[in-house]
Symmetry: C2
Subunit: 158 residues, 2 copies
């Protein structure tokens, strides 16, 4: 077993899973903040030079998982690991968000698609050189992707 | 405390941290494989439609952390969370790799920048709609980024 202690908490306007955007693309203008434990503030220096950051977090409101799921973006079942569904064997969440500013140990962010009170595991700078491959195929999402921004969560993963 | 059990193991040609590429950009042609636990094979269906995937893993060879580090890409110190250094409060690693093919529970991958035997926590499909923001600033990395592909790890994070 690998055990982690949250380094902070993510705050957002979303207090229940219903009606949440599915990914930051659907939450472009939604603002929130990350409160990192004050003991780690020194580690946040220079982060404000980056326009975007990865938040790695724990889906704290989910329980269990199914290996085949019908994701929000489609009406056909798919293998769980080919989706971003929160109910996973290890419910680790990953979002790229815009970093608006930093004040001491608080990060002000935009494009937040996570539930209020989500435990934060890590913050990493986003760098296209590492993180944005060139020519990309996205399988079953290809057809569905035009609808992403309009999709909202329902009870499916409660 | 949040505890996870690895869902599989990442295999690569890198058996020691020295000489490893720092990120997949420096490991473009390096091939490896991911062995997901057979019990989770069903969850991998449809993943092969995606050209790229996120691997979320545990840096199993690191110990402790410093909040200020001098990363491989620069010769100036920076806040830990503005770097991708493996020694972190929660040593969670994140890489985008190319998915070459899948055979049952085995994923054949390219662009592997992780150590052989690394415990895998999660696999997610990479989708530019979610994961590739448009206009991006990368702070201290801006100057250094031209050198990323030539950089190799040393003993700094042992």
């Amino acid at each position: 077993m690998i055990c982690y202690e949250p380094i902070g908490t993510i705050y957002s306007p979303f207090t229940t899973p219903e009606g949440m955007p599915i990914q930051p693309a659907g939450a472009k203008d939604v603002q929130g903040r990350v409160e990192v434990r004050p003991a780690y503030e020194e580690g946040l220096h220079d982060l404000e030079g980056f326009s975007h950051i990865f938040l790695v977090y724990h889906f704290h409101k989910v329980d269990g998982f199914d290996l085949t799921v019908t994701p929000f973006l489609d009406n056909k079942p798919h293998g769980l690991f080919s989706t971003r569904a929160p109910r996973r064997p290890n419910p680790v969440g990953l979002s790229v968000v815009r970093l608006l500013s930093r004040k001491e140990n608080i990060l002000y962010i935009e494009g937040v698609d996570v539930l209020d009170g989500t435990p934060l595991l890590d913050v990493k700078p986003y760098a296209p050189e590492f993180d944005a491959p060139g020519s990309v195929r996205t399988g079953w999402m290809e057809k569905a992707k035009r609808n992403v921004e309009e999709q909202r969560a329902d009870n499916r993963f409660k």
